[in-house]
């Protein structure tokens, strides 16, 4: 592999401070195409800040983020499909309205695919989001995000607050909808639920990347599950 330009995402010496608090301290890593990557860290480790920076929702204090070799901006927003930790959708909207909204907003949104996935879920798409359970709302959000034909999917805590059966559904949806050239970053602290589908993990702690590794190699080397290795490393 030749240098930088083969990477889908390149983060270089990224720093972010809020007032005097340094939330990210010199973070560097890169992500190639075609991988599912777990961004794992305790609460407050800097996961969401990092994700918001990649999505151009925050400005770095210093450092650089490249997507497909270009600085982030309008172009990178087209190729990144982002599932935020909290919903930004207007809950008074019906699912059908949200679908139209996404279709207007994103040229790479595949409405038919979204409708199919929603149908598989037995969802009444004429319902308002506010009338749905939290788990259902999360599924709708995920379907919307995964129905965009993007290069990079960034899912911030996609499993928070949903039951185990729904978690399995979410994992299956991620697996069966990501194409070989795209990559997926999943941020979570629910490691054991998700680790079987990951290629690589990035451990983040106190604003620093402390480890990036292939999952199976790590399991072999440390003789345990990713969850266990994480617990061992960050024992309170």
């Amino acid at each position: 592999m030749s240098k930088d330009n083969n990477n889908l995402l390149e983060v270089k010496n990224l720093k972010k401070s809020f007032d005097k608090k340094e939330v990210l301290k010199d973070v560097s890593f890169s992500i190639p195409n075609g991988k599912i990557i777990g961004l794992l860290g305790k609460n407050g480790a800097g996961k969401t800040t990092l994700i918001k920076l990649i999505n151009d929702l925050l400005t770095p204090t210093s450092g650089e983020i490249l997507v497909n070799g270009n600085k982030i901006g309008v172009e990178s927003k087209k190729v990144i499909s982002y599932l935020p930790e909290r919903t930004y959708l207007n809950k008074q909207m019906k699912v059908t309205e949200v679908l139209n909204y996404f279709e207007d907003f994103y040229e790479n949104f595949d409405k038919e695919k979204a409708e199919k996935l929603l149908k598989d879920l037995d969802l009444d798409i004429t319902q308002k989001l506010s009338k749905m359970s939290k788990g259902m709302q999360e599924k709708v959000q995920l379907v919307l995000v995964m129905s965009r034909k993007a290069d990079l999917y960034i899912l911030d805590e996609p499993l928070g607050g949903v039951d185990p059966a729904t978690r399995d559904y979410i994992l299956d949806t991620i697996l069966s909808n990501f194409n070989e050239n795209a990559s997926v970053i999943i941020s979570t602290h629910l490691i054991s639920d998700i680790e079987r589908i990951l290629d690589e993990v990035i451990f983040i702690d106190k604003g620093k990347i402390v480890l990036q590794s292939d999952c199976d190699q790590l399991r072999k080397k440390e003789n345990g599950s990713i969850d266990e290795i994480f617990r061992r490393m960050f024992k309170c």
Partner: protein, 119 residues
């Protein structure tokens, strides 16, 4: 076909083990065309890269082969599958006898127990 995984062991090794059993038991027969990596990964619910790695391992053992552009096939060599079956059965038998030895039973007694079990 359903696979369940132990997070403590590399996933591709577990997929590889399942695949070996499918070959031995004839779920996939000699010379048969295998599903694509994508089909496999949705059926088994594993990452396509993990599936790819397990298949590459099977290929390096000559248990499957790739026909350019056409996909992957199970080896035509029935002897190879028989050998795999034999190895697998030997391992299972050994571990049975080891377990019996631990509770103080020799080979002859162990066989008696085996015969006493209805299938």
């Amino acid at each position: 076909m359903e696979m369940t995984f132990d997070n403590n062991i590399p996933i591709y090794i577990q997929v590889l083990e399942y695949m070996k059993i499918y070959l031995i038991s004839g779920v996939f027969k000699c010379g048969e065309r295998l599903p694509s990596v994508r089909e496999f990964s949705t059926t088994f619910k594993v990452n396509p890269n993990t599936m790819q790695k397990a298949l590459a391992e099977l290929e390096s053992m000559d248990l499957i082969y790739t026909e350019r552009t056409n996909g992957k096939y199970v080896t035509q060599n029935t002897e190879l599958i028989e050998k795999l079956k034999d190895e697998y059965a030997t391992t299972l038998a050994k571990s049975y006898f080891q377990g019996m030895k631990r509770i103080g039973l020799g080979k002859a007694d162990s066989i008696k127990y085996l015969e006493g079990i209805d299938e």
